[in-house]
Amino acid sequence: MSTVTTRPADTAAPLPEGLKQRRLPSWAPLGIAVVSVAAAVGAGMLFGLQSKVQWGLIAALLFVAVSFALASAVEGRRQAKDRLATSLVWVCFLLAVVPLASLIWTTVGQGSKVLDGYFLTHSMAGLLDIQPGGGIYHAIIGTLEQVGLATLIAAPIGLLTAIYLVEYGKGTLAKAVTFFVDVMTGIPSIVAGLFILSFWLLMLGFDYSGFAGAMSLAILMMPVVVRSTEEMLKLVPNELREASLALGVPKWRTITKVVLPTAVGGITTGLVLAVARIAGETAPILLLVYGAPYINNNPFEGAQSSLPLYVYQQYVNGNAASYDRAWAAALVLIIFVMLLNLVARGIAHWKAPKAGH
């Protein structure tokens, strides 16, 4: 029997008596999905729809509508709503997975075309944009130096600020710092670039350099470091601090010898993730580093390049050879960022308390 038995309006207690419920068989969702996809492919071919995007949307709509209709007919309104939610959630998941998988797939497929030892060890010096060949050596040097410098600037400031907030901070100043760290997290990277541009290049009169880019990256990195370090320091139990202070250890030695070593795993994880985040930044580099096609090992003088900027420049060149280079550099960049992420997770895992510690 069904739950949606209509009953007279005056009975206040409207509960269905039976426990049995007519249900769709457990293979129904899968069946509906297969039929929907088949129908979408059929319709796509029949009407000559060019793009798979349309096929996918037709299949998704069919799947949701058919599940809802069948469930309404067989199981009743409430169950149908439940099915509708379930099918929508699954469709959301697939909707998201498809483009993200395609992004990775395309980058790997296109990027592996010209990615080889030569590509990694040569620059673009003396090469016309439309010529095939060339490489990303200068861009790798640039990225490593700029990211390294940015980390050297941002890590100590970020760490000390977090220590201030957790160990010392009280009152208005700490509140203001907390608030503006939050605000700083939301600064668009191009704005950080514009700031260094107006300060370092326009006011102080310096030229384009890797260091200018590094400073803008440092601005983007600082709030991330503060946030993650703060979280880790807060996890250090107060008993540890008190135990050390009670032994007569001065506060700063308590922090450097007890608190920081306790939290070092989590802090490092946060640092590595922050590095991974700025390594892919393009916009400020575009404004401040200029993008030289040749190798410049000195980040303090003259234009450099960087991997993300290289990708952009090769895309803008707009010919087959430069597209190939753009994809290959994108692949290298993605691998670099993913490795950093895996390393960060590895550290977190390795430093996490083992069971029965």
Binding site: T3, V4, A9, A12, A13, P14, L15, P16, G18, L19, K20, Q21, R22, R23, R77, R78
Partner: protein, 258 residues
């Protein structure tokens, strides 16, 4: 409305671990049955198998039969959602919906079942709150958040919410363990009133409470540490507390262990 429950050969699992083993018992309609036993003996787990709440825990599963007036709750085609609507439950800690008002908390189950006429809702909400001995305390602030009530009031609100949908059985999982003695007394009074309309099963750690409110008492125990819980005996409450037929029951009741 009250219905009878017949359990036969019921075992419950968490993953591969058996939590309770081969339990059979009958719960009489329109009575209060108390489950007592030491911590971890599976009495709460068993209670949750009676309205199919056990299986919502990831990896949990059940074997055996639970008949509600001859209908197997675990039979093919039985909808767990319908089971839980028929067999209401009150939890150890009061858990009113934090974002809902007192009124909406009581009406929540009714709205799920498609009752949306203002007048019907008003009537049932009032009746249920009266049934839970809470009406007089909250009738002037029905639109205030349910989470603003005291612990004992919250628990009675949860009882009102459970009885609003007119279940046939009411399961209570240590309903007073988070409450002070006065709130506990209020709930115990309420249980005695409610048994005229519902079959009530209550898990309790408090043996005096079992003695005060229940007609029949079931004693659960572990065979050994790491072993699943078992039903040791079930009998009239008076007999269990005066002259139990199993030695372990007497040991537990007289405070010799547990």
């Amino acid at each position: 409305m009250a219905k009878r429950i017949d359990v036969s050969g019921l075992s419950a699992f968490y993953g591969k671990n058996k939590a309770i083993d081969d339990i059979s018992m009958t719960v009489e309609p329109g009575s209060v049955t108390a489950f007592i036993g030491p911590s971890g003996c599976g009495k709460s787990t068993f209670l949750r198998t009676l309205n199919r709440m056990h299986e919502v825990i990831p990896g949990a599963s059940v074997e055996g039969k639970v008949l509600l007036d001859d209908e197997n709750l675990y039979g093919p085609g039985v909808d767990p959602v319908a089971v839980r609507r028929t067999i209401g439950m009150v939890f150890q800690r009061p858990n009113p919906f934090p974002t809902m008002s007192i009124y909406d908390n009581v009406a929540a189950g009714l709205r799920l079942n498609g009752i949306s006429r203002k007048k019907d809702l008003d009537d049932i909400v009032e009746r249920s709150l009266k049934g839970a001995n809470l009406w007089n305390e909250v009738k002037d602030r029905l639109n205030r958040p349910g989470a603003g009530l005291s612990g004992g009031q919250q628990q009675r609100l949860c009882i009102a919410r459970a009885i609003a949908v007119e279940p046939q059985v009411l399961l209570m999982d240590e309903p007073c363990s988070a409450l002070d003695p006065i709130s506990t007394l209020a709930i115990e009074d309420l249980i005695r009133e409610l048994k005229e309309r519902f079959t009530i099963v209550i898990v309790t750690h408090n043996m005096q409470q079992a003695a005060r409110v229940s007609d029949r008492t079931a004693f659960f125990n572990l065979a050994a540490v790491g072993q699943p819980g078992k039903l040791i005996e079930i009998d009239e409450t008076e007999r269990i507390f005066s002259n139990p037929s199993v030695q372990a029951t007497e040991d537990y009741i007289s405070g010799r262990f547990g």
